[in-house]
Amino acid sequence: MDIRLTVNGREVIETVEPHVLLLDFLRERLDLKGAKRSCDVQVCGTCTVLVDNMPVSACTYLAVDADGRDVMTIEGFAEQPEFTLFEQAFTRHAAVQCGYCTGGILLTLKSLRDAGELRTEDDIRHGLDSNVCRCTGYRAILEAARELIR
């Protein structure tokens, strides 16, 4: 199937098999390796990307379903001016350890913040329940996220 979508602000036109996952499409076809594979069952959040600014698990999302949509990966977010704020907060609190889950967490927070849903501690805790981090114990991530409240 032919699909036409925007990835990190650039138009992409590709032909894909209907069963190809968005995660494989991004990683293998477009060489965007920032989204990571882990649980494969839409629980851990390491493969999180934004589709029309909504966080989705790319491990269980078909590439063809992204046709006509706007996809952002961590590589694209890192190019945006507001990323600096996230980067500084996460660096200040050492809220990154192995780094494998980090992109998914940053994109989840960005999506919440853009939607005006990152206003309180409860928003952070509820919003990040969709991401698993095995290294940090979450405490540092919550501290960093508090700096992003608006």
Partner: protein
Amino acid sequence: MSTAEREALREVGVARPRKDAQEKLQGKAQYIGDIEMAGMLHGAVLRSPHAHALIRSVDYTRALELDGVVAVLTGADLSDIEPYYGHAIKDRPIIAIDRVLFAGEPVAAVAAVDVPTAEAALRLINVDYEPLPTLDTLDKALAEDAPRLHTRRPKVGLFHGLGEMGEARGNICYEHHLGAGDVPATRADAAITVEGEYLFPAVYQYAMETHATTAHFHGDGVTLWANCQHPFLVQAEIADLFGFEKGAVRIVVPYLGGGFGSKSYTKMEPLTVALARKAGRPVRIVNAVSESMVTSRRHGMRCWMRTTARADGTLLTREVRFWMDTGAYADNGPRVTATAADAAPGPYRFEAASVEGYCVYCNTPPSGSYRAFGATHMQWIGEAQIDEVARRAGLDPVVMRANNLCLPGQPVRPDGTGKPLDADLIGDVEKAAAGVGWGEAKRPWVGRGVSVGLLAAGAHPVSRASVRLNSDGSADVYVGTTELGQGARTVMAQIAAEEIGTSSDNIRVHGADTRFTPYDRSTGASRSTTIAGLGVQRAAANVAARLRETAGELWDVDAELVELTDGEARFAEESISFPDLIAKRFGFRGGEIIEGGEVRPTGGDTGSYAEGPFFWEVCVAAVEAEIDPETGVITVLRTSTVADVGKAINPQLVERQDDGAMMQGIGNALFEEMHFDDGVLVNDSLLEYRVPRVPDLPRQMTSIIVENADGPGPWGAKGCGEGALAAIPAALACAVADAGVPMHELPLTPERVWRRIQELKRQQTEKESHDE
């Protein structure tokens, strides 16, 4: 002036930002699965559905006919080499030969042009199994009439560390005994006896990144890109298996997406190498989570323990017998067993003690290392009994511990061997207890617990490092430590910078590449900062000595009087920048200063775990928890963890290590458990294997750093990051017992807690009716 004499440390003791933060946050950090190479094939592994079976035949004709399939590997391809490996015991074939011993054991592997093709090919392979009776539990494996799973005479591995290997008995692959004193005679004086049987579950380390390896044969040998924690040990095992000189095996280690012990020693590397050898092209194998769960896990354990004391709570004896389910192959089971034996008595002054630990083969997936192994298994049991003694003696648990704990300098092991205590445990316990409001009034069903233990740490203290000061004043540190999230590259840069007298901003720390990086025994056992860090410090000190020497010659002064600071050499009114100084040394703006540093054991080393440890890692925490008696649900209200680290090179990263270990401790204590049905793992995905998430965080967390400069590492440092994982389940179980529900089995699931509450109520009712 040496750094020891300089008054203020500039780099060490400072919360410097992580050097890898930007790369990781921007999604640019590379892990094995992100690194492509030209001509690379993708591997997939056919795994046994049976926990114990003979393989009558493997037919892969149809798989080979599939477009895009390049090679299929089976046990029959290994006839030209001695295909058994294992760093402790060489009991495991690279791929199943004639039989399988666990569900999930690799039986065939396919190399194909892409992953979907390789996976499709697996479905075209026909294996004819003859299922055999399954020894899927310790009871079955230990039964008198149990068949022996391993009948070949055990060959010790390259890094066995077991001392003398006795004759194997039944399915016991290793046993460890320690003790001292006359236990029966001493026990005769006891007024208090606490005795019980306990169960610890099999759990999965759950690093977010699964095991992954790329192997490439070429004219010079074989190169592996592997997410291994111990590249030099893997190098040695691959060289041994495939008949290479060590230098012909190159292991390159990029960032790891977590390890926690799951990637220690050799895992998927031999299979990937064998498949690449067969295919004649580079091959990458990346496990799915369900595959990594049967690649490494924590040992399930059964334990019997008895503790006795005088009426006033003075401890007399402890006896421990425990059995570890090491799975089908020994992996690190012997070491885990020895470390658990070390942890079993606890750091108390017993008059007599005896410990027997058995490592048992079962038809379950192999068990290896997981953060704070042995100590996590044992501490919650030992501390539960200490609290029960305290209750019967009418002592506060903190007072009980203060009365009985070992003091600094006293022997830890009952027989007096090994390193004496190198920490102030009583001070640590008091700090932890204060962190959860010890002594404050409590509501019903709220309890508080404190726990203390020691973890034999450091493994073999062998590490080398080199530091290269470039002519522009920047420096490179080459050290074998794997960056798996702990922040090693940042800490190593701080150590080198402090010693050289420059900023860590000017220092790069590289990942291990065995072709260039000096030898380091391993990344584990909390040894990196302490032991590899000491190697870095010594290498950097040697670089600093060359700088002083050059400046001394330049100014005609004693080199010892030259001070190095802020990237300059200084003496009196003289100063010169490092780049200018190096230019003076070489007569032009080139050259470099490159020096090594070495750490090795002092005294004899037979490689036996009975010796050592290099230091004792302190495992101290306190917990306040609340039980909902209607549902059995436990809420963790407050935690405090104590990182008794000697010297915190980077205090923020020390706290971050304790945060992570604390949360894994909550997972191990409250919900993590692998379930097997006839040896087959049934909860093999994150849908059914529950790890801690944000809502599981305690309401309040306190992280306490204790710096008594009593460690053997740089500036008195000793390792951290594992202790909280042993201490939190113990403190939590003690808190739950304090709230009225003593438990004998982890995890403390709501159902288990609820059933125990009903049992206790029933006992209470029976007792009351009996009393009437």
